[in-house]
C-alpha cells in the first residue's frame, strides 16, 4: 500500500524542474517534504494531485496509474487557497456536495469540523474575504471534511499564529490516526516536520537527496 513514483521528469521549457528516479510514499503515514525554495516541492504536489499532467514518468497509487477515480480520493491544500465567493460554511460543505452526501449528514460534518478548528465564528463570512491565517484553517477544514485517502499539504501553516498552528497540527495528526489517511506535507519548519512526520524526504534541485 503506497504511492510509487518512478523516472519522474518535469520540465518548464528547457529547465529540468524535477528528476526523481524512484520514490515511494507509504500509505497511512505522514511524510514530510522539505527543501529550499524552488526545489520543486509545489510542482511535485501539483503533479500528484492531477493539476499538472504534463510530465514524463509514472506515478502509481496502490499499483494503478492515476486516474479520475483516484484523483477524487485525494486533495491538495495550496499555499494560497482559493475560496468560492460564498460563506465559509458553504465553502467547507462543497466537497461533500459534489460527492452527493445528503444535507443532514453534511450539516453535521461541517458543524463538527468548524468546532474542531475553532472557526464557528467565521461561518457566515465570505470565503474570499478571509485573512491569511483564517484561510489556511478553513482550507484545511475543507480538505479534511470528506476524509480523503491522500492529503497533500503545501506549507499549510506558514504565516499563521502559534495557536492556530497548534490546532492545525492536532487536526492533521487526528486525521491520520483516525482515518488512516496518508499525508504528504511540505514544510520549511524542521521542528514541525519532526512533530508530525513518520518520515522526511529532502528535495534539492528537483532531486531526492539520498
Amino acid at each position: 500500500m503506497e504511492i510509487t513514483i518512478s523516472a519522474l521528469k518535469k520540465y518548464y521549457g528547457d529547465k529540468k524542474i524535477l528528476d526523481i528516479d524512484g520514490l515511494s510514499i507509504e500509505k497511512g503515514k505522514i511524510t514530510g517534504l522539505i527543501g529550499p525554495n524552488g526545489s520543486g516541492k509545489t510542482t511535485l504536489l501539483r503533479i500528484i494531485s492531477g493539476l499538472d499532467m504534463d510530465y514524463a514518468g509514472t506515478i502509481k497509487y496502490d499499483g494503478s496509474l492515476l486516474d479520475e477515480g483516484i484523483y477524487k480520493k485525494m486533495t491538495l491544500v495550496t499555499q494560497k487557497p482559493y475560496f468560492f465567493k460564498r460563506k465559509v460554511y458553504e465553502n467547507i460543505e462543497h466537497p461533500l456536495k459534489v460527492r452527493k452526501v445528503n444535507k443532514a449528514v453534511r450539516k453535521k460534518k461541517v458543524e463538527e469540523i468548524m468546532y474542531r478548528f475553532e472557526i464557528q465564528d467565521l461561518r457566515n463570512k465570505k470565503g474570499h474575504l478571509l485573512s491569511g491565517g483564517e484561510s489556511q484553517k478553513v482550507s484545511l477544514a475543507r480538505a479534511l471534511i470528506f476524509e480523503p485517502e491522500l492529503l497533500l499539504l503545501d506549507e499549510p501553516t506558514s504565516n499563521i499564529d502559534p495557536v492556530s498552528i497548534k490546532i492545525m497540527e492536532r487536526e492533521i495528526l487526528n486525521f491520520n490516526r483516525e482515518t488512516k489517511g496518508t499525508v504528504l506535507i511540505v514544510t520549511h519548519n524542521i521542528e514541525q516536520a519532526e512533530r508530525l512526520c513518520h518520515k522526511i524526504i529532502p528535495l534539492d534541485g528537483g532531486k531526492v537527496v539520498e
Binding site: 491538495l76 495550496t78 482559493y82
Partner: protein
C-alpha cells in the same frame, strides 16, 4: 432655429402622449422588440456560455488563434448577418421550405447568430483569465467536469450577467439584421429600431421620438440594474 426647437418639443409632447395613452401599435412594437432580442440572447447564452467556459479553461493548441477568430466574429456587422440568414431562409435557399422569411422566428435566428460570437467570445476570454483558478480548486476538491462548469458559472456570475446584458443591448439596438429578415411589416415584424428608421424617413417624428425614448429607457434601465447588482459583490 426657434421653429426647429419648437418642432422637436412638439414631437416630444406627442411622444409622451402616445406612451401614456398606451397606444396599441407602439406597445406591440416594443413587446416584439423585447421578445425577439430576449429570445435570441437566451438561446445564445444557453449554448455559448457553457461552451465558452469549457474552451476557456481547457488547454489546447491554437487557443490564441481562437481568440482572434472570435474577436473578428464579434464585430460582424448586423447587415451581414441579416444577409446571410436571408440567403439561407429565402425561397430558393437551403432552409426555404421552412417558410420562415419575414417572421419573428427569422428575426430571432438572425439575432441569435449576431450575438452568439459576442457571448462566446466574452465568456471565453473571461474564463480564460479567471476560470483556471476555479477549475483548479474544483479538481482538488473532487468536482466532475460538469461540476466545474457549474462552479465557474456561479463564481463568475456577475461578469457573465454583464456579458449577457451587453449582448442583449447589441441585439435590441441593431437594425440591419431584423430589417433584412423581418422586413418591418406592420403588426407582424416591426420592431423599435426598424420602426424608428421608417418613421424618420416618413417624417413622423412623434412616433420615432417615442420609440427612441423607450429604447433609451430600456438601455439605461438594464445598465443601472447591473450596476446596482454588481455593487453587491
Amino acid at each position: 432655429m426657434v421653429i426647429f426647437i419648437d418642432y422637436i418639443a412638439q414631437g416630444f409632447k406627442e411622444a409622451i402622449n402616445l406612451l401614456i395613452s398606451f397606444d396599441k401599435e407602439i406597445y406591440e412594437i416594443i413587446f416584439l422588440s423585447l421578445f425577439v432580442s430576449t429570445s435570441a440572447t437566451i438561446i445564445a447564452s444557453l449554448i455559448f456560455i457553457p461552451l465558452g467556459i469549457h474552451l476557456g479553461i481547457k488547454d489546447f493548441r491554437g487557443k490564441r488563434v481562437l481568440s482572434r477568430i472570435l474577436y473578428t466574429l464579434m464585430s460582424t456587422p448586423s447587415v451581414v448577418v441579416g444577409l446571410l440568414v436571408a440567403i439561407l431562409l429565402s425561397r430558393r435557399g437551403p432552409f426555404g421550405y421552412l417558410d420562415l422569411m419575414y417572421t419573428p422566428k427569422a428575426m430571432i435566428i438572425a439575432q441569435t447568430l449576431l450575438v452568439s460570437p459576442l457571448i462566446l467570445g466574452l465568456t471565453y476570454s473571461l474564463s480564460k483569465n479567471r476560470g483556471k483558478e476555479i477549475q483548479k480548486i474544483g479538481i482538488t476538491l473532487g468536482a466532475s467536469k460538469l461540476d466545474i462548469i457549474i462552479l465557474v458559472t456561479r463564481e463568475l456570475k456577475i461578469d457573465l450577467i454583464v456579458n449577457i446584458v451587453t449582448a442583449f443591448s447589441r441585439a435590441i439596438s441593431e437594425v440591419g439584421a431584423v430589417m433584412i429578415v423581418g422586413g418591418n411589416i406592420k403588426n407582424k415584424t416591426r420592431v423599435i429600431t426598424t420602426a424608428i428608421s421608417m418613421m424618420n424617413s416618413m417624417g413622423e417624428y412623434p412616433m420615432a421620438i417615442a420609440l427612441g425614448l423607450v429604447l433609451l429607457i430600456i438601455s439605461f434601465g438594464i445598465n443601472s440594474l447591473i450596476y446596482s447588482y454588481s455593487g453587491e459583490d
